[in-house]
Amino acid sequence: MSREPGERAAVISGVGQSQVGRRIYRRPLDLTVEAALAAIDDAGLTRDDIDGLATYPGALAVPPGFSGVGVTEVQDALRLRLDWYAGGLELPGQLGSVANAVAAVATGLARHVLCFRTVWEASAQGDKGRAAVTPGGGGAGGGGSGGSGGFRASGAQQWTLPFGAPSAANWIGMMAQRHMHEFGTTREQLAQVALNGRANAAANPQAIYRDPLTLDDYLAARMVSTPLCLYDCDVPADGSTAVIVSAADAAGDLRKPPLRIEALGTALHGRPSWDQFDDLTTMALRDAAAMMWLRTDLTPADVDVAEVYDGFSFIALCWLEALGFCDHGEGGPYLEAGRPHRSGSLPLNTNGGQLSGGRLHGYGLLHEACLQLWGDAGERQVPGGPQVAVAAAGGGPLAACLLLTTS
């Protein structure tokens, strides 16, 4: 490239994570503060060093548990003196907030940006299950044709909610069905994402589900939205993850060698819609991944570990294809060949991913990529000292990915 990509002016200097669990009934700000202070300490910084704050999706009341903590609560709780901040939903997915932070650091608007993502979906659902948080139902005051709450769907929701399709399980299910139709992908192949995640979760003390899972268990599980069964869907969790993005020239102020941000991908070239996108077998992650590889001389063969979004198993398959680890349409055979295993050529979702580790919404995967590169992953550390990792999050019309390297 004629000019050094701007993201290389930024580094990742520290990460932190709160307690993670199911229905732990801790307030989201409490979880966030725990993660933030851990990340600041991990970087060798103090609260006074933090001059930027970034988050996804910002403070939202609905759906319950999806957010609850925005920029203002965290700034105030920690009395941060901010030169730059941004929180919001209209980003290239969850890691779009990290991309925001990178841009702020690269332009000199901030020097150390605290990025965070907090979820408390398990506690928000309580013992009532998904129906308690479904948009237009329990999650938005009821209403509809049979209710009195008066809720009416608008914006993008109006094209799906009236048809009983309020969940990404429905939208991703339709993408997976199309992929199976075009490429012959099978449920047994999709299952490999779930089985790999469960096997890795056994070595992650923070993971939600750690008991062994077999292909027979997977195939016998109840259907959620065909072809996706229960084990194709990630598990709602409570937890917060924080990542510090710092200026590359601040390396001398840090506790440990920071991680380089080799390249970012944040593109969306297709239509921003779950049903109008040109190719429903891939969607926005195709564009984000292509952009990332245009910004580096590294190639997919250089990647030592991949932490890719598995809100649904099928999304991980799509990321593997989009990132070039296999051809478009070849994700099924690629998974079946066993390459993603911890001992395989491309260890995948080494903390159990979201399917077994818990739905920390993208940030958990970035956190894991950093731990692996720092050699801090404990029992689940990929052997051989991985030097290049990809962290990718988002599905449908939302996607961003980062290529990280050791210093």
Partner: protein
Amino acid sequence: MSEAEDGGPPARPFRVLPAVTPETEHFWTGGAEGELRFLRCKQCGHWIHPPAPVCPACLSREVAVAAASGRATVHTFTVNWQPWYPNLDPPYVVAIVELPEQPGLRLTTNIVGCAPDEVRIGMAVEVVFEEYDGVWLPLFRPVGGGAAEDPTEGPSGSEPHE
């Protein structure tokens, strides 16, 4: 989700309804006249969905409401088994159908009038409206009431556009 078979009043499943606005009124109320309506460019004929005040193909701002044929093919689908709402009982079929008027012109909808396990990608379907509180939801049923399949699977009979 299916129509009553005994001729009595159809079962009324729970539906989250859309907010009808000046921009979307043609779409959500066209069913009152049995028409599946979209905005269409008066310059180049491009169909525009969701509604926008500009043609994305030629950037003309001369757009007007037009009725589509109501025919479509199933681009993809899912059988939903999860009880998201009280009184909307699974299983039911959520599908993305593609209209022959233009490649990529699609709607998320339900396939009704056949068993969930009869739905196939490529199936030829036609619009049927269900009215709730002044909103006509466009659902689709197999053409001829049976599980006919369109072997070409893609849009057919398209008229020229752009």
